[in-house]
Chain length 259, copies 4
């Protein structure tokens, strides 16, 4: 078995496509954002990516049918735009540094094959506290791109993120840059405590302008409301418990089922 196996369902003809990456990460912001866009734009899956760098695991659908954990590529043709779209999403990131490098390299091979004109990677920026007004931070492969992003409302605070960007959202920029690809990372601020649809919405509000598509955000708003409700219930229970009550705390997994 090869390290990374790509199974194409079909090979669409795309005009200088933009690749949008959204894999699991801080607050699942990138994954929530990319999958929302796929849903809204009715993008079509055209490839499955399997790897021994993913967990040795199958997931079981509600009908009892399994599927091997993977990453997936979707496309969406945008006839009114200069660029079509490719989406790169999935269940997991590579489990090891080596796996991360191998997977991002393979995806960049595909970017070159499809003559991708730009890469956007989407992620969360963990603040360790609750967020009111969600900023979208950026990082990019060139000064020109930074300037363009500033014009779109992305902020670039000096010294942030101090620890850099880890995982596919970083590597696609770093390795992409070595191949001469231009790439931007958009990070929505998030507490980092649970899946954060608000962070995803903030990222999408800027990204959709940049790629010139319009989408409805109601699904993300609904998910955010559900999470707020659970978080609020959790807080009440904690206060009750501290006040002497013996009620069990709700399962914190409740906060994760969304996204």
């Amino acid at each position: 078995m090869e390290e990374v196996v790509i199974k194409f369902i079909k090979k669409p003809k795309l005009r200088s496509p933009v690749l949008i990456e959204g894999l699991p990460g801080v607050g699942n912001v990138g994954k929530l954002a990319a999958e929302h866009l796929i849903d809204q734009l009715k993008a079509v899956k055209f490839a499955d990516i399997y790897s021994k760098h993913f967990p040795p695991q199958v997931l079981v659908n509600d009908d009892g049918v399994i599927r091997l954990v993977n990453n997936e590529l979707y496309y969406k043709k945008l006839p009114k735009s200069e660029s079509d779209l490719i989406f790169y999403v999935g269940d997991y990131q590579g489990l090891t540094p080596e796996g991360q490098y191998m997977l991002s390299s393979k995806v960049l091979d595909i970017c070159e094959e499809f003559k991708v004109s730009r890469i956007y990677t989407l992620g969360g920026y963990g603040m360790g506290k609750m967020i009111q007004d969600t900023r979208v931070l950026g990082a990019a492969t060139s000064n020109e791109l930074v300037e363009e992003m500033k014009g779109a409302g992305v902020v670039f605070p000096k010294g942030e993120p101090g620890s850099g960007i880890v995982g596919a959202s970083g590597l696609l920029l770093g390795l992409g840059n070595l191949r001469g690809l231009e790439a931007v990372c958009l990070m929505g601020e998030t507490s980092g405590y649970f899946a954060d649809p608000k962070g995803a919405q903030a990222v999408l509000e800027i990204l959709t302008e940049l790629i010139n598509v319009k989408v409805d955000f109601q699904d993300l708003v609904d998910k955010a409301d559900q999470i707020d409700a659970i978080a609020s219930k959790l807080k009440d229970l904690e206060e009750t418990a501290q006040a002497g009550g013996g009620m069990p705390t709700p399962n914190p997994d409740d906060l994760h089922y969304i996204g």
Copy 2:
């Protein structure tokens, strides 16, 4: 040394065989079940599988002779049935995700070589509590197989197992499906606290119907009784100890020597 080394003792001629996997896992349900079937059907070993993805370890038999930890393949011809049987059992699963993928891939190569018609993987489904009536949960590579299994008494509760199936029992389905092989995972409910012959019996009661063989379960019943006796003794001692007694608790390893 290659990653996975397969040493054939002989290459039997088999008619569209069914592969049955039972490796160590939750409650050792799969291993207990497959090894019981091998014993009862007097299946014959035809291959040893060695790998650097197993622990660097030899086991010592009671006579002082060693054997390298391995996986093994057995076969049983069933002249009255359409399909003969292959069993895949062993001491360990691969130690790393990569090792898991490499081992399952190699076993699937053998499945293709022997024109395996179906794969059954056997395992336990850990409930984290003592079980009264042991259900057998399933997962499969297609809707048709799910329906067939429902007819055989296998249950497919929506959303279970929530975390998917990890290890060879999952990968043989996931990777097998990519090669067009049909495969089913049968999971016996088990507390997960110790080796569970009852879970193994529940799985076998369904599997033996599916593959149309009859076996005696007395050995598994005896093992279950032994474990119940030890568990009960352990519980008594705990209660005595809590009541003020200072008696030492028995070695919990006692619960593992079976299976």
Copy 3:
């Protein structure tokens, strides 16, 4: 860089040599025994083994000159015996299961090249308590070898060692057996708490009979006395401390500098 690099200083001509392995392990029994034999027999180094499966480390000699951590091969011609000797010793075992398999495989390649007639691997058998009369336990690749070893005073208690033999002392038997090499593991009982020259002596008293050489054990006796003295001092201090004294305990590393 290859996984395992063997640098021959020279290639001695040896008559059906016996390979004796003694690498770090429980109580350092195997390493102490093999290195004592090398010293006493004035065996000569003929190869260095380097590997990326060892720690990325150099050791510094007392004169300030470094050497890369390695394994080493020594030989000793025994004109009066049918078989010459090869010793396999070193600073470390492979750090990972994969590294263990690769290193033992390479050493077995050398065994085949030199037409090794038998392998003895030396180790400790940790008892978790202080030992009075040190038994030497065995494991071997065949019943005939087991019987021969029983005649030499090696014991083979049923069910011991229950967890098998881990590391090079086990793999050289397991992988060697697959190549048709006969091999024996000799394990000296040891507390496992510190380096144990007594365990090494017990192993050597049997091994030297088997390979028909005579050696002086005074160095090992002296080392054992030193360790006893430190252990005794440590015990006194502990008792003093428990009796209310505030004296610092000696550095437990003192117990390791030997061996």
Copy 4:
């Protein structure tokens, strides 16, 4: 993607250059020293080294532009000296033992390509306590080099460093020696508690004599003063806190931003 990728910006012609390594390590002494020398001598970058053995991470510059974590090679021509200089510095060392071996091997390939005449590796020697007079300890590939270094003020205390030298600073000596390259490790004593510009200065005072260059140390002195100030403030706060005050302790990261 290859294990280690070297991207040459240019290939300078150098006369029997000396390679100076300073990667992150104990007290960051080696990295601080080598980077100070690069700054002072205005050395020029000529190669980037990328590897899947580094973290899957990009760093973000103050202007928002990313760069993939890497190692770098710089050169400085010294027309008045017999030997030009190559510097080997970077963000990280290899994450695994295997990665360490692969990276050092690749750098030694470059040493051979450029006909490097000597290697100096720079590091810290952690004392676990505050240091007044910083000694520079050494280790080398030959007795002749040890003697030469003693003449330059380097000390070689018997039995130190007892645990050897781990990482690139050790491997370049150990693997270099196998290729016939002469190499020295210079280790500045350091508490090991934080980045230590004083340790770096001590190492450089000896190294600059050896390679016959003159540099100003004011930057390192300033950095040391800053760290002393922070350490002193930290100590005051601790004492205040112990005296009953409830003041928050300063972020210990403050001590790391330098270097």
